[in-house]
């Protein structure tokens, strides 16, 4: 997986490979990469007042925590990211740093560009402006499990892996998500939760530095979701990858993440650490306070939901 990316790489940094470097070189920086922030601010000239604000909220926290250097142990480094679909600007000068091992939840209204950002970090979208760096070893869990229906569970987990120990590593990963003994099951035989667990195993078997999750539990029923939350927390505690967890569920974000971001109008309008004491409970006043704050940022009054 690394080889595919490195084809595009012009100046790879210590632990991060640029994503969509072709687009960057062609359209934004003209070859100059990390550190050349002044060159790629198409949004900044248009709205100077607006760019200052998200920079002020998002940047200092990130730089303080990770030293602010280009090699400061970050799994994701995004500066001045722009993405437009035709006339519609979805991401407008977005800045984001995710530290190694950090669990970050990304909230936003539907259509706010959450999935676009995730797809860019995953390397699926190359029509971008700005600097984007993401860990070379990264994997994605999609909303639908996206298992190959003609490949058994184990084959799906080991997809793209090579080496003699691929099968045993796949087996171990399946056991870790609680699916030992289901190696030979066809995807059609798996329930929604099981299929998503296979997708988790497929993501983790690569020992990624960064896991991108795109509303992975959105299609699951509430009970299964609770179990998947516990599983994901356990897996993250054990493997310590950096995580970008895209969701529209505020409670889910607070329950799981170290830090919650809100994406509004193409920029991160809110970037807050989650300081709710663990085990996190919805009844905790800190939980409720953060919930209200996030919902307000998303433009929803949480009294509408009848919350305490």
């Amino acid at each position: 997986m690394a080889t595919r990316l490195h084809r595009h790489v012009t100046t790879p940094t210590a632990d991060a490979a640029p994503v969509g470097a072709v687009a960057l070189a062609d359209r934004a920086t003209g070859g100059a990469r990390a550190g050349s922030r002044a060159t790629d601010k198409p949004g900044a000239t248009a709205e100077p007042g607006a760019t200052a604000e998200p920079g002020a909220t998002a940047e200092p926290g990130a730089t303080d925590e990770f030293g602010g250097g280009d090699t400061g142990g970050a799994a994701v480094r995004v500066r001045g990211l722009r993405r437009a679909f035709g006339e519609r600007i979805v991401l407008d000068g977005l800045d984001l740093t995710i530290g190694a091992g950090e669990f970050v939840a990304l909230l936003g209204r539907s259509g706010s560009g959450k999935s676009t950002l995730l797809r860019i970090l995953g390397g699926f979208d190359t029509g971008i402006w700005g600097d984007v760096l993401a860990a070379t070893r990264r994997s994605v869990v999609f909303q639908e499990a996206r298992l190959l229906p003609w490949t058994r569970a184990l084959g799906n987990v080991t997809l793209g892996l090579s080496g003699k120990d691929a099968a045993s590593r796949g087996r171990a990963a399946l056991a870790e998500v609680g699916l030992a003994g289901r190696e030979r099951a066809w995807p059609v035989m798996l329930s929604g939760g099981e299929a998503q667990r296979v997708a988790l195993a497929r993501a983790l078997v690569r020992e990624p530095d960064l896991v991108l999750l795109d509303e992975p539990f959105g299609a699951l029923d509430a009970l299964t979701r609770i179990r998947m939350h516990a599983l994901l927390q356990e897996l993250c505690r054990r493997h310590r990858p950096a995580v970008l967890f895209v969701t529209h569920d505020v409670d889910e974000a607070i329950l799981l993440a170290d830090r919650v971001l809100v994406l509004t109008d193409g920029r991160l309008s809110l970037d807050v650490p989650v300081s709710v004491a663990s085990p996190r409970r919805r009844t905790d006043p800190a939980f409720a306070a953060l919930r209200s704050r996030l919902l307000a940022e998303l433009g929803v009054d949480d009294l509408d939901e009848g919350a305490h």
Binding site: M1, R4, G122, S139, V140, T151, L159, V188
Partner: protein, 327 residues
């Protein structure tokens, strides 16, 4: 509990009802559509007017309407039910010919057909003709399927291939294959290769069309996922695109086998002295309806056999679709 909108029907009506409300209460007598008025219990109709308004007990009925099916009926096996139609046809044939309603010159009886089969099978003539026909179909299908697959892969994988191949195939497809026969005779003559060529030319199109559609129908999201997890171009073709296109190819194969037998009949009517088609043409010359019908039955059985083979192929290659665990 202030937000509870509906209280049970047994709840006592509030005494401090505003005077405007009785206007809605007489609705109680109105029956629901389709329910006899006698079935409506007395009581106030549901109303959104106030939280304290009692709710009328709705009329109840058995949703099955008394038609209960508990699966206790005697079940006939599927294959028996499927054989009923052919059995009826056979019975009609037998009756019509046996009672002399239709003469033997128009339609031979099943017995006469069986006798003709015995005669032909006895002196080996039938196997002779059958084997040469099978060889022709075999080669024709082999060449046709190979060509169709290669073209479909070219058009499916490469955009340039699509521009060149797909448009030409769509144009050629509209020409009836039988109309090629004169040209084939001019080009290749009237030997065995001409017959094989005709069959191959007919087989190419169903295989091409369905395989191409199969390749193009592969879910982009699966291709994306495959790419994320490190599959290269060859890996994508082997792990994602070929298995994804397989159902389409098998449909094309099944269709093309039917076309192959159809074209065999035409091919074997041009300068042949062996083959089922030759037997059919000769039988017509001798006015032997028993032989004609025997040939038709042979075509039918061969067609069914081919279909069965593709079905078995589908069963083993597409076992993932039904979740068949296999071994």
């Amino acid at each position: 509990m202030t937000d509870v909108s509906y209280l049970p029907a047994t709840a006592p009506a509030p005494t401090a009802d505003p005077p405007s409300f009785p206007a809605t209460v007489p609705a109680a007598g109105t029956p629901y559509a389709g329910v006899p008025a006698a079935g409506v219990p007395t009581g106030p109709a549901p109303t959104r007017a106030t939280a304290t308004q009692p709710v009328a007990a709705p009329a109840l009925e058995d949703p099955t309407g008394g038609r209960r099916s508990r699966g206790s009926r005697l079940t006939v096996p599927g294959w028996v039910r499927r054989l009923t139609g052919p059995a009826v046809l056979f019975a009609v044939w037998w009756t019509v010919t046996g009672t002399g309603l239709v003469g033997g010159r128009v339609l031979a009886s099943p017995l006469a057909v069986a006798r003709a089969f015995g005669d032909l099978a006895g002196d080996g003539e039938l196997w002779d003709n059958l084997s040469i026909s099978l060889v022709r179909v075999g080669w024709g299908v082999l060449f046709g399927v190979t060509a169709g697959l290669v073209l479909a892969v070219l058009a499916g994988f490469f955009r340039a291939g699509e521009h060149i191949v797909d448009s030409s195939m769509n144009f050629l497809r509209t020409i009836p294959v039988i109309a090629l026969l004169p040209l084939i005779i001019v080009w290749i003559g009237i030997g065995e290769s001409a017959k094989v060529f005709l069959i191959a030319a007919g087989v190419v199109f169903p295989v091409y069309m369905n395989t191409f559609a199969g390749i193009r129908g592969v879910d982009v999201r699966l291709v994306e996922a495959g790419r994320t997890f490190g599959l290269g171009r060859l890996g994508l073709i082997r792990r994602v695109i070929v298995p994804g296109a397989l159902p389409g190819f098998l449909i094309g194969l099944r269709w093309s086998l039917g076309v192959a037998w159809l074209l065999l009949v035409f091919a074997e009517q041009v300068n042949t002295d062996r083959g089922i088609g030759y037997l059919l043409t000769s039988a017509q010359g001798w006015n032997r309806t028993d032989l004609i019908i025997l040939c038709l039955v042979i075509y039918g059985v061969l067609g069914l056999l081919c279909d069965g083979i593709v079905r078995i192929l589908e069963g083993s290659l597409l076992s993932w679709r039904r979740g068949f665990t296999g071994t």
